[in-house]
């Protein structure tokens, strides 16, 4: 598991997008708003799957999907959580750090993203889907939290609520 990025937004990436505003004012803002909608929709879809089909593969691809756009916008913490969801959906990982750890990382505490909700890695193979689903549920909550943080940050940047 890669380390949680400390910064909510990777401005190196987002600035590239923002720089295209010169051609098209509001371009980046429009894109961000589009992303916000996309993220909300995706979160809801995930939630829905967790409650209904409990299809890990579906969650995997949704995680991947949102990871792509959030990373492209430099929203790296959202992307990080999405990657966790993706990997949990693939059963490549079997743990997700507690929200305290996730939160702590935001303030620069170098806590290893270790395993409050983790499972002994020895019996990874025997884990049944419910464990992963539960972890994804926690991750999803984290993703929503991160989403709110990013929203705040971006609203501040654009000077208007997004």
């Amino acid at each position: 598991m890669s380390a949680i990025p400390k910064e909510i937004i990777n401005w190196n990436i987002l600035n590239e997008i923002v720089s295209m505003d010169e051609d098209d004012p509001e371009f980046s803002k429009g894109l961000i708003i589009q992303f916000m909608e996309q993220a909300q929709t995706t979160f809801d879809k995930m939630q829905n799957i967790l409650h209904t089909t409990r299809d890990l593969g579906e969650l995997d691809s949704l995680g991947h999907f949102l990871k792509g756009s959030s990373a492209a916008l430099g929203l790296q913490r959202i992307a990080w959580v999405c990657e966790r969801i993706q990997n949990l959906g693939r059963k490549h990982e079997s743990s997700f750090p507690s929200s305290e750890v996730v939160r702590a990382s935001l303030f620069g505490n170098d806590t290893e993203p270790s395993s409050a909700a983790s499972v002994e890695s020895g019996n990874v193979s025997q884990l049944d889907d419910s464990v992963y689903l539960q972890l994804i549920g926690e991750a999803l909550q984290e993703a929503r939290n991160e989403f709110q943080l990013a929203n705040l940050e971006l609203s501040k940047y654009y000077g208007s609520p997004l």
Binding site: I13, S19, E22, D23, D24, Q34, F35, H64, G68, L73
Partner: protein
């Protein structure tokens, strides 16, 4: 670096040791040695077992055996290393013989008197030699290993005493610093043969000057205060080499017996401590600029040799030079491993380069303008491995310079690999240097010649416009009427250059804008044009939205530095297909391309990508790998399969035999598409899989847009090659040898390579506003 204690060796010389103590065979015979000057942070002595008859040469072999895992052993051989130690001049001098002279103290000499030595080099000449040595220091050129290999005597490890003494002559050992110095008469040993032809060991023992024994000390190891009073009288075959100042090093001849040395220096077996280790010197085959040749010595009087210094300086100068003239991007890294670093090129003016050495000038022009980078052509797997290895070693994800672009196997661009290779080899510089020089020329005289060439290009394009109608009706008419025109149209400017080479390059073919308007006038862009795709892709609406070029000044502000000034005006005219399921990423990419006026389409999944590609006209596909419906990997595989089936990018013979297929729009697809995979993960396996599936390159998401723009430039140059290729195919289809002769080729190419341009143009003219269009063509019009 080992700050060795060579000279600070413990003064515990076993003076009192009875040197004639019988060799104790129960003890294993071990001698401590240590690599001198070896660039390891820890460099400890190690011991080697040796036998009664072992010579220094045998010991060397053992050293190599012992160290067979380290690099040192791969750059050295028996001939290029020597065992010995350092001593001070003062230690050597008391004996009276000039230290400058080397000291062939073979047993024979000692026994028969030195005046019998056949070799009596004049002091003067030797002095000169020595001073040579001084300046050579780390002697980069005289590889003793090489000279050793030419010595027949050395090829076999001399085990018999006689052979050993024979090897005394012309021993490569002595060549380490200078050939002259190394001559010591073979006759010296002649007399000793009789004596030593007993057993080596016996000879060794016999040689021990019994009387002198008590006064001898293991001199070299007494804190640098060598009491070498008797050193020269010792019966050890050795050479003295002047290192620096008062510092000398004693090197033992390869045929000296280890046991003899041991006894002479340390006394009886077992009395040598690890800290008294003999030093293993090696000649500097590998330039070790950052190393002082004798850094093991911490003597205050030691300074680097002149030559080393010079080398260092010249190296620095060269670096500076390159960084000024070439800019440093990757030049060093991309140099072919086998090639020597090109010598500094002082004159970078291309006028000084014979014109035939330049790749065709239009292409050079292209590379000047479109290329701010260096190429290295890699034509086989071995090179690829090396280069990619070297790139991995210094992996820098932000750097666009270290990309490997894979070309199709039969790819044959406007660089003739063989020809250019041979031409280049006749140059003192590498191909990279040529391109570089061209580039710097571009910077220097951009205003003069560059604009001339531009105007030529535009003229040609205007010309194309005039004859496009022919192209519609039939190539034959077109080419007939064309055959002489382009040259006529090519006025005054660099005629010689253009005439002597100049198959038409992408730059010319790709410069489509002047056509836009005239095309429209002629009605070629009407929807009924046979060149228009019959099934406009579903994303056409989006396309039209994307095509309107925005105002250029804003664009230049958008990105700082070089790329807004140089690259955006030369971004290649290519059609890009974005395959991406996430609308956010789609928007980012398409906005980016739009901003740079690169025509593009968007597909949501692999299947759509296939469909759009089949319509033709796509030069470059940005392929996300994880896609719904049909993954990027599978889409890439399918596209490659179809290309194979239709003979695209393969030899034309296969191609013509394939008329049955109608699945893809072959008129529009005349070269393999370049597929660039966008991988979300950094894992090597994904990248590998992408490459295996037929992708030419890959980017890791999120895509760095700056990086992407550099890559697009690169791919634009690819397209130059591809267009040239299609021209060639088109031309060879005509098979008329009459036409195969320059200069008519140019016009033919212009005509036949035009299909997809017109396609693009018509698309472009439909979708972009006429205002921006005229603006564009205005900006492209040659200055009056």
């Amino acid at each position: 670096m080992s700050e060795s204690s060579t000279l600070k060796l413990r003064p515990t010389s076993p003076l009192s040791v009875n040197r004639n103590v019988a060799l104790n065979s129960a003890l294993s015979w071990r001698i401590w040695v240590r690599l001198e000057d070896y660039e390891a942070s820890i460099n400890q002595a190690f011991s080697l077992q040796f036998g009664e008859l072992d010579t220094i040469d045998d010991l060397k072999s053992k050293i190599f055996e012992n160290l067979n895992t380290i690099r040192w052993t791969r750059v050295n051989d028996n001939g290029s290393i020597a065992l010995g130690f350092y001593c001070n001049r003062t230690d050597c001098e008391p004996d009276g013989f000039s230290l400058i002279q080397r000291i062939p103290t073979s047993p024979a000499e000692t026994m028969f008197g030195r005046n019998k030595s056949l070799q009596q080099p004049s002091t003067a000449s030797t002095k000169r030699v020595i001073s040579d040595n001084e300046s050579k220091g780390g002697s980069l050129n005289t590889s003793p290993g090489v000279s050793a290999s030419t010595s027949p005597k050395l090829s076999a490890v001399p085990r018999l005493p006689i052979a050993r003494y024979g090897a005394n002559m012309g021993s490569p050992f002595l060549n380490i610093q200078s050939g002259n110095i190394s001559n010591h008469g073979g006759g010296n040993s002649g007399g000793s043969n009789g004596i030593s032809s007993n057993s080596g060991g016996a000879a060794g023992m016999a040689r021990l000057p019994v009387g002198a024994a008590p006064t001898l000390s293991p001199l070299p190891f007494s804190g640098g205060k060598l009491a070498l009073t008797n050193w020269s009288k010792k019966n050890l075959k050795h050479t003295v080499e002047h290192v620096d100042g008062s510092l000398y090093r004693i090197l033992f001849e390869p045929d000296e017996l280890v046991i003899t040395i041991y006894n002479e220096l340390f006394g009886h077996l077992g009395s040598q401590a690890a800290s008294d280790a003999l030093l293993v010197f090696c000649s500097d085959i590998v330039p070790k600029h950052d190393m002082l040749p004798c850094s093991a010595i911490d003597g205050p009087n030691f300074t680097p040799n002149r030559l080393t210094q010079e080398l260092l300086n010249s190296q620095n100068r060269r670096r500076e030079h390159e960084s000024i003239k070439f800019d440093t991007r990757g030049t060093h890294d991309l140099l072919q491993p086998g090639l020597e670093t090109p010598p500094p090129i002082d004159v970078l003016n291309p006028e000084d380069i014979p014109s035939e050495l330049m790749l065709d000038p239009t292409a050079t022009q292209t590379s000047r303008e479109e290329n701010e980078r260096e190429f290295q052509l890699i034509t086989n797997e071995e090179q690829l491995r090396k280069v990619s290895q070297s790139m991995q070693d210094e992996d820098n994800p932000d750097s666009p310079k270290q990309a490997i672009l894979l070309l199709p196997k039969d790819f044959d661009g406007d660089v003739n690999f063989n020809e250019s290779a041979s031409k280049v080899s006749s140059l003192p510089s590498s191909p990279i240097a040529i391109i570089d020089s061209a580039k710097s020329e571009n910077e220097n005289i951009n205003n003069t010649r560059g604009s001339d060439v531009d105007s030529i290009n535009v003229k040609i394009n205007t010309h194309i416009t005039d004859t496009n109608s022919y192209n519609e009706t039939g190539n034959d008419t077109a080419k007939d009427s064309q055959s002489s025109n382009p040259l006529d149209q090519r006025p005054k400017t660099d005629d010689s250059l253009l005439q002597s080479h100049a198959p038409l390059s992408e730059r010319e073919v790709g410069m489509v804008h002047p056509l836009l308007e005239s095309d429209r006038k002629k009605g070629l862009s009407s929807p009924t044009s046979p060149l228009l795709p019959r099934n406009p892709p579903p994303s056409i609406g989006e396309l039209s939205r994307n095509f309107g070029p925005r105002n250029g000044s804003a664009r230049e502000k958008a990105f700082p530095g070089e790329w807004s000034t140089t690259s955006d005006k030369v971004f290649p005219r290519i059609n890009v297909l974005i395959v991406e399921d996430n609308v956010i990423n789609q928007t980012i990419l398409s906005s980016f391309l739009r901003k740079h006026k690169i025509f593009h389409k968007v597909a949501k999944n692999g299947q759509e990508a296939m469909d759009i590609w089949k319509e033709g006209g796509i030069h470059l596909i940005f392929m996300d790998l994880q896609l719904p419906v049909l993954s990027g990997i599978d889409a890439a595989k399918k596209i490659r399969k179809l290309e194979r089936e239709h003979g695209i990018g393969i030899q034309k013979s296969k191609r013509t035999s394939n008329n049955g297929h109608s699945k893809i729009n072959k008129d529009q697809i005349n070269a393999p598409v370049i597929i660039v995979a966008f991988t979300a993960s950094k894992s090597q396996s994904d990248k590998k899989e992408a490459l295996i599936s037929g992708c030419n390159d890959y980017l890791t998401k999120p895509v760095n847009l700056h990086w992407l723009s550099n890559k697009i430039n690169e791919w634009g140059c690819m397209q130059a090659l591809i267009n040239f290729d299609s021209w060639k195919q088109g031309q060879s289809r005509m098979t008329e040898n009459v036409l195969a002769k320059a200069p008519s080729q140019r016009s033919i190419k212009t005509v036949s390579g035009n299909a997809d341009i017109k396609y693009r143009m018509s698309r472009g003219s439909r979708s972009s506003s006429s205002a921006s269009q005229s603006k564009l063509s205005e900006s492209l019009r040659p200055a009056p």
